[in-house]
Amino acid sequence: MTLLVLAAGLFFGSPFAALLGSFATEGGFAVLAQPGVLAVVATSLVTALGATLLAAVIGTVLGYHFTFRRRCGGRGLKAFFSLPLVLPPSAAGYMLLLAFGRYGLVGGPLYQGFGLQIMFTGAALVLAQFFVVTPLMMQAAASAFHQVPENLVKAARSLGADDFTIFIRILLPLSRPVLVAGVITAFARAIGEFGATMMVAGRLKTIPIMIYVKAMGGDSGVADGLSLLLVLLSFVVLLLVNILGER
């Protein structure tokens, strides 16, 4: 047993050790000051924030729906909304291309009617990240609402509260720690999203795309810096989620 744990530790630790080693020899975070790198970081932050904001709202509403309105759609609909969790990200990106591309199901009419192009713009990045992280938020919200004692909802209803009041004044405040943990996790997932984003990004770059491009191009300094940035961000996120989970 101990040997297995040690072996697993070595396996999972080796990429981090390798990254730290490479990062130290390639000049540290200074390489991030190279032209264009900061813009990529900014693009990633802005699009991830936008996607997280959208996912927080829509995911919370979906979580509420599947907790309290189970009859409308039931398990099938919930499984459908959870699909992006298990879909290969590249397939998700391809489907988004088909739907929102210039000749797509939704994108076609938008382009022909209003001249609006979604794909290969910042909006496409937001859309791809939103598509992938919304189920995460939905599940966090559903789990949070499940934890609110049923009698509190009944008590509120017996006192004359309508669904909206119960949602705003009872469910949201009582679910806040889990919901905030869900938002943080969604943000971390959004900023690290690669496959779907890659398919719809065009010439735009996010941090994961930049890491891929630089690593393939042999510029390991930038790839190291950006990777470590994401590792640190993920670590902080997990720490925060754990702290919130203990409340």
């Binding site: 009698n151 509190l152 509260a161 309508d162």
Partner: protein, 367 residues
Amino acid sequence: MSLELENVGLTIGGQTILKNISFKLEPGELLVVLGNSGAGKSKLLEVVAGLVTEPVGRVEYGGRSLEGLGPQERSVGLVFQDYALFPHLTAAENILFGLKCRRAPRAEQVKWLKAVTAELKIDHLLERYPTELSGGQQQRVALARCMVLRPEILLLDEPLSALDAATRERLALLIKRIQDKFGVTMLYVTHDHTEARLMADRILVLEGGEMVQLGTPEMIFDRPRNRFVAHFTATRNILPGRITERRESAGRVQVEFAGIRVEAASFPDRDELVWVCMRPEFFHLGMSRETGGEENLIPGCRVRRLLPQTGAVMQVEFEAGPEQERLLACTFGPIAADLGPGDRVDLKIAATHVHCLPRRAEDIYCR
């Protein structure tokens, strides 16, 4: 205005929770719904409160059907067994929740908050959160939260079950005071027969979602309709017997059980085989054989064991009659202090306190 239920039923997920519940509750009356866990007591309250959808039958208040009306459209307050106070709100915010939902003017909110919290003596607790309150204080806040809405019907779901004895007593008195002072009609759920007797104007006994008996506490406790009610209301002596002689003109029958003959004033019209029900507290213990008028005498009962004392009352198990049938009797005072296993005592019980229930083939005798 009166609350009337007619053939109310409820089925959830194919399971029958309530079936054919009918009763009429007069204004200001307190009806206790008595039953064991899973009898459907709490669901009955939720039906009246409008919290469950699609019950069958009719629920009327003041002759007006409540069908399709949400909780906010019914003048009903519900106090939950676990209080269901909102943990993120202070006592004052909890109490004002309903008024805010109804968008009551600020002045009205303050007026009713002051009036009700002063009445319930919780005006010094308003800034505290539920976790900072004792069980009794939480229960008062839960009551206040309903009372500020001035409901005409108050539904109480086992309101005293989680409290210590002293707090239970104080809150029971408080609930009776609220009933008297505000004239609120109350539906009060409990599984505790002592509490039911203390609180009720009338009692409704539920078993497996069905009404078993509805009546005054005296009717329920002294004239239980069947063995379930007798057992549930702590009639500890339920013995198989046979009516040996009917004296209908005197309103009496002679009934024999375990070789003992007693007179009973309550009996079925036709059945010969009966359950003889005698409540322990109706026995008198005496060393002499003098009987007072109507009393049955069961002589020379041997003390088998003394049960743990509850307050000043002691329960004693006797072996009575030629078959040494076990009888349980309550006693207190000097006689109780002198009793010990093996002692011989005469037991007396009035014919009016011997109640016979029909004993049918499907009944299984178990002690």
